[in-house]
Symmetry: C2
Subunit: 137 residues, 2 copies
């Protein structure tokens, strides 16, 4: 079975979705992510969907579920890389992805997480160094 | 056509290969990566192959070409996430990926790039470099 890899980078987990999110793949990803969040104790999850041409209601629901599960586990989720056409289609379908935060790309997603949480700022901005200097639990 | 996304994170470009590397996909990735390296001026490229069950000679050659092109453009390439079975098969096939540097996972790959180059240490913690160098059991 195909499986979406979960990459740990500093204080975030990065998921780049490139394959069709069928039921099994989506469920496996939810499970993998939840396990990795608990195992690593990261504060943020970034899901890149720049490779997806289509985001239907199933994928939208999957993303929302992932975000909810992550939040319960004390990790914020940001969806990044949505194509303009995908955004237009989503809104036309009435799917505005409530509860899901988005950013244009991975870097802006990391910056968003760094601003709001005690997630280490991976981009190395000087302003955030006091936050970044704090020991992670 | 399917396309492998290239994600910029700080001073590196991250590519997570999850789909079959057919000719067109591989060529497109080489092109995309070269363009992004020039456009962003990053010093490192990390290619995650943890989703690949099989790395045949074509994929091996593709990785080697990407590494060579990146080097010409002044960016180092590290291949990360190779599965044990893939490594065994590669060696049995006589493909030892000469000229390609590898690391266990994305974090260790970033640490490797940070040690050797002036690439910004995305992990942020200087003390961890010794730990990071240790192989995980």
């Amino acid at each position: 079975m195909e499986r979406v890899p979960v990459l740990k980078i500093g204080e975030i987990l990065l998921v780049s979705i490139q394959i069709d999110m069928e039921d099994q793949v989506a469920l496996q990803l939810q499970e993998d992510l939840a396990e990795r969040i608990v195992a690593t104790g990261v504060g943020g999850v970034i899901i890149d969907i720049s490779a997806l041409d289509i985001v239907d209601s199933f994928v939208g629901r999957t993303l929302a579920t992932i975000a909810s599960v992550s939040r319960v586990l004390d990790a914020e989720t940001v969806v990044v890389g949505m194509r303009p056409a995908v955004a237009i289609t989503l809104v036309e379908l009435g799917l505005s992805l409530p509860g899901i935060r988005t950013a244009l790309n991975v870097e802006l997603g990391i910056a968003m997480l760094a601003r709001e949480d005690e997630v280490v700022d991976l981009l190395g901005d000087e302003d955030d160094t006091d936050q970044a200097a704090e020991p992670t639990p």
